[in-house]
């Protein structure tokens, strides 16, 4: 099946442009989506962005497939505040996940080496990129 069709089955493609696909995937399914749908068809992970929209933390994975970018968004409820790691699937996500974790205060479950990346080890303040 085409990648886009599968993405539409699990989640929803909300924007499509030349060389760009933007989709949203339910919080509970993200790890399965990346493992089953993406692992074999994607060249690499390019970046992970995080954004605090007030209610939830939006985590956006940017994957590279040939010449286009596939962006997968997950909304992480602030009450739960955690997400499963994908570093075991894409080792390139190692630093990206650590940065996401410290800047937005999300716990990454199963990360091989959690901890501070850019912030000092004894950082006590709130995560710097959380709003409000």
């Amino acid at each position: 099946m085409e990648l886009k069709e599968e993405l539409n089955l699990i989640g929803k493609i909300y924007r499509e442009e030349e060389k760009e696909v933007w989709s949203i995937v339910p919080y509970k399914k993200i790890r399965d989506v990346i493992e089953d749908v993406f692992l074999s068809r994607i060249n690499r992970i390019s970046s992970i962005s995080g954004y605090d929209n007030g209610k939830e933390i939006e985590v956006i994975y940017h994957f590279v497939k040939d010449n286009s970018l596939i962006n997968i968004k997950v909304l992480v409820p602030k009450k739960l505040n955690k997400i499963e790691t994908i570093t075991d699937l894409f080792p390139g996500a190692f630093l990206l996940e650590r940065e996401l974790s410290e800047m937005l205060g999300i716990k990454i479950i199963g990360h091989p080496k959690p901890g501070k990346l850019f912030l000092p080890e004894n950082w006590k303040g709130k995560p710097p990129l959380r709003k409000g």
Partner: protein, 383 residues
């Protein structure tokens, strides 16, 4: 078994920029590597959220002193996508010329530093001498030698006059001969060959698995360049060729960069020939829609990617930057394990790490670990 841990950096004579490596040695051989970054915090991602879109062009240009216009080009491309504007052709070509000259100066600087790391300071002197032609050309176009600030939202800030173009073509012709000489030197010099062959080997599978980018990936035979993938600016018209090597060691990475310099020279000369009289900027329509955009450029070190999120105000809600060195740092372990301590400087240098790009997130702190707020920083500037 007894192991020795040797701290390497963050300030070390063999490292031009701060990264802290923990090397676990068995005798002379490296068994494991751990690293930490964050010694150059500037807090720019947070600062970008608190400054308006127009000032951010200059702020993003100050993320890195080497690939300054790669950052501001990527940022302006993102904002232009957000505003849905198409810049004039002449502006595209001027941006290409500045980007390619910047790649030249970055690679020449890197070649000089590589020579310095391996104790071949004549190469350092040679590379820096030739780099002067590039800086002179950049000064002609932009008025500045290092942080160029040529980009603005909707085009470029300075036009390219006929006299400047004539001088530029002359400089590029001289440079072509010089770079060709450096290419022969890198291929044939026995000292460079002995210090770089089989050092820091990464095969194609490692590159794909670790998600590496730029010349490091291309030196292992990965045919990927954003200039080809995205065809941004005018790269499609210029018939750009991707440079690759197969071996994946420090020697291949050196050759890729030197050959890329020749390609950059060709692109810059072609772009000058393509320039036609016309406007250099369009006036943007100043309403920022609520949207998220992503933009990518090929910086001298590889894929640079910006995620810009707008919430409808004159300031971006979030700017996330993933720099090429940040993506390539992960390969340090693969590159160093199995080599001796003496090979560390050359192996690390072959990645071309640029840490002021990598350490660009969050908040600034002073020696006493007091957090300086953005507003305080602003006041500080006026005193």
């Amino acid at each position: 078994m007894h192991k020795l841990m040797v701290p390497f950096g963050p300030a070390h004579p063999a490292l031009p920029e701060p990264v802290y490596l923990k090397l676990f040695l068995d005798g002379e051989e490296i068994e494991d590597v751990d690293f930490s970054v964050g010694y150059n915090h500037k807090g720019i991602e947070k600062a970008l959220e608190e400054t308006d879109y127009f000032k951010n062009v200059f702020l993003s240009g100050r993320i890195c002193g080497i690939c300054s216009s790669a950052h501001s080009t990527c940022y302006t491309l993102g904002v232009e996508k957000l505003l849905n504007i198409e810049i004039p052709d002449k502006a595209k070509f001027i941006r290409v010329i500045v980007s390619e000259l910047e790649r030249l100066h970055s690679h020449l600087l890197w070649l000089g530093l590589l020579g310095h790391e391996m104790g071949f300071d004549t190469l350092f002197m040679l590379a820096f001498r030739e780099r002067e032609y590039v800086l002179e050309s950049l000064e002609l176009i932009t008025g500045k030698r290092v942080v160029h600030d040529i980009n603005m939202i909707g085009g470029v800030r300075r036009d390219l006059s006929h006299e400047i173009m004539v001088k530029l073509v002359k400089n590029l012709e001289i440079l072509e001969g010089k770079v060709e000489y450096l290419r022969k030197l890198v291929r044939k010099d026995s000292l460079i060959r002995r210090r770089t062959l089989r050092i820091g080997k990464l095969d194609k599978r490692d590159v794909e698995e670790l998600c590496l980018v730029g010349p490091v990936a291309r030196a292992s035979g990965v045919l990927y360049d954003i200039r080809r993938a995205d065809k941004y600016l005018a790269y499609d018209d210029l018939n750009f060729k991707i440079v690759t090597q197969k071996k994946g060691d420090a020697s291949a990475r050196t050759l890729v960069r030197v050959r890329e310099m020749l390609e950059s020279l060709r692109l810059a000369r072609l772009a000058i020939a393509f320039i036609e009289p016309g406007p250099i900027k369009v006036k943007p329509f100043l309403i920022f829609p609520e949207k998220e955009v992503i933009s990518r450029v090929e910086a001298p070190r590889g894929e640079l990617i910006y995620y810009i999120r707008s919430n409808g105000t004159d300031k971006p809600a979030r700017v996330k930057i993933r720099t090429p060195t940040y993506a390539n740092l992960i390969s340090l372990k693969k590159i160093l394990v199995g080599h001796t301590l003496a090979d560390v400087p050359v192996a690390v240098a072959s990645l071309d790490p640029c840490l002021s790009c990598t350490d660009r997130v969050t908040i600034v702190k002073n020696g006493k670990e007091k957090i300086i707020k953005w507003e305080d920083l602003h006041d500080h500037e006026h005193h």
